[in-house]
Amino acid sequence: MIEVQQLTKRYGSTLAVDGLSFTVDPGRVTGFLGPNGAGKSTTMRAMIGLDRPTSGRVLIDGRSYTDLRYPLREVGALLDAKALHGGRTARAHLLGLARSNRIPDRRVDEVLNTVGLTGAADRRTEGFSLGMAQRLGVACALLGDPPVLLLDEPVNGLDPEGILWIRGLMRQLAEEGRTVFVSSHLMSEMALTAEHLIVIGRGRLLADTSVEQFIARNSRAYILIRTPEPQRMRDVLTDAGVHTDDGPDGTLEAVGTSSEKVGELASRHGVTIHEISPRTASLEEAFMQLTADAADYRAESRSADHG
């Protein structure tokens, strides 16, 4: 289990992580979702003691990462896959890490096999594609057979086959009872792999929920109305107690109603209608909406502070 407690990280004037608290439970894949720059990588670096929190802390099974005698046997992390010494072979890179944590040498061949790099084991990594580097990064994370895995955007740079492979691997690791914490800036990716979601925006927690609940709550359904008389249509709907938003290209979006009701109201009041259709915002849109709200909230509270 990972416990993030009131984590705050500031880089100069940038507040990368802002009072973040959540826990990550074992036995399932927990997605860490947020747009680029939300603070996901910073949080993950803080989890393994690479970045010092400005305040707050992270505990791994009740202990700080830096207190672990053989941390690679407790936590496997894939942060920046391209961070390899180009002159060293894949095998040598893994061998060093194995020696550092007294992990038996045979694990090196085992994990190379797991990630499908056996054939490239003795090649220097300078020639590796991003996909191969990503696989080697996963091998490093698995080296100590750790009960906790942290993967920062592991899908980046993988080909479709690699993406399927890593999704399957993450699910398998979770089924084995491990804690799997994986970040992404794509909601669609998370919907496919994660069971639980931690959503952040601008360093703050926006949601801590199951993926199912998140989708149900955030995928907004509405009725799209295309009409040459939008103002009249809006008045009619408002009088009937139906809330409307402005859609793209002068359309209206009626929330919390049905096509039937909109059609009846239009006909009763003689409003010309070109189209009425029920729509559901995509997950990606829902996620954008959520994080945009967070940005707005932040902008408002900031201007309030300074005003």
Binding site: R69, A83, G87, T89, H93, R99, S100, R102
Partner: protein
């Protein structure tokens, strides 16, 4: 906490699995020995033509070690790249994730690098000494049992090892090879040489790390010197302590 011995095994594995470290150590050996050979031969031929004063001042041990200063550049490169390689490649994050205690990580890296520098220096200095003395020839050369010869040999080994340790400390502070080597190479091989020959600043310049530590390579200290062989070595040790402490403080504070 932490496992220092495992951390040392880690550093040793990292060093022996990149070719640049192996090349720089080999180059250190080749440059030192070849220059000793060349100098020895030239001196053997030139000795008879030297003035009486020059003959009296002739220091076969110090002359034979002339190549060490150049060979030492490779040790400086070795020490620097061992540290900065982690930063330029980004492996510092994987390394600190594996050994999160920064003090343990740093101590293991410095100890491993310094131990390798010591082992290489022992070989390089001994081979250089015997190569040079053989080349100079029986008539005018020094034997290891001569007064001060053994001191020069042991001192040169210490000198080269400490310069490598100094480089590692500075490299940890600066993190880039361009900056570290851009300071150390000109300092050790030009600036220090120039300053030590300028009458006005000679007195101060002998306290520079390479100048102070290098005094021990000669049989006798020169006249304008305040420092002698062992006080010079002590000054170098002080520089090394400062550089290593600076490296530790920088590493301990910084985000990786």
């Amino acid at each position: 906490m932490g496992d220092p011995r495992a951390a040392i095994a880690f550093e040793w594995t990292k060093i022996r699995t990149v070719r640049s470290s192996l090349w720089s150590l080999l180059l250190c050996f080749l440059v030192s020995v070849l220059i000793a050979l060349l100098f020895g031969w030239v001196l053997r031929g030139a000795y008879d033509d030297m003035s009486a004063q020059s003959k009296a001042d002739f220091d076969p041990v110090g002359s034979g070690f002339n190549g060490l200063r150049l060979g030492m550049i490779s040790l400086v490169v070795f020490g620097t790249l061992t540290v900065t390689g982690e930063y330029t490649s980004g492996t510092i994050r994987a390394s600190l994730a594996a050994v999160p205690r920064r003090g343990v990580f740093y101590a293991a890296k410095v100890l491993t690098g310094t131990a390798i520098a010591l082992a290489v220096s022992v070989v390089v200095v001994l081979v250089t000494f015997f190569t040079a003395q053989t080349a100079i020839g029986e008539a005018h050369n020094a034997s290891i049992t001569d007064d001060g010869a053994l001191r020069a040999v042991v001192g040169s080994i210490l000198y080269m090892t400490l310069i490598c340790a100094f480089s590692m400390g500075l490299a940890t502070v600066l993190r880039t090879p361009a900056l570290t080597l851009g300071i150390l190479v000109p300092l050790f091989f030009m600036v220090s040489e120039i300053l030590n020959n300028l009458p006005g600043v000679q007195k101060a310049a002998q306290f520079l790390p390479d100048a102070a530590g290098g005094i021990i390579m000669r049989r006798e200290a020169q006249e304008h010197m305040i420092l002698d062989a062992w006080s010079g070595m002590a000054v170098l040790v002080a520089w090394v302590v400062v550089a290593l402490a600076g490296g530790y403080l920088a590493l301990r504070r910084r985000d990786a």
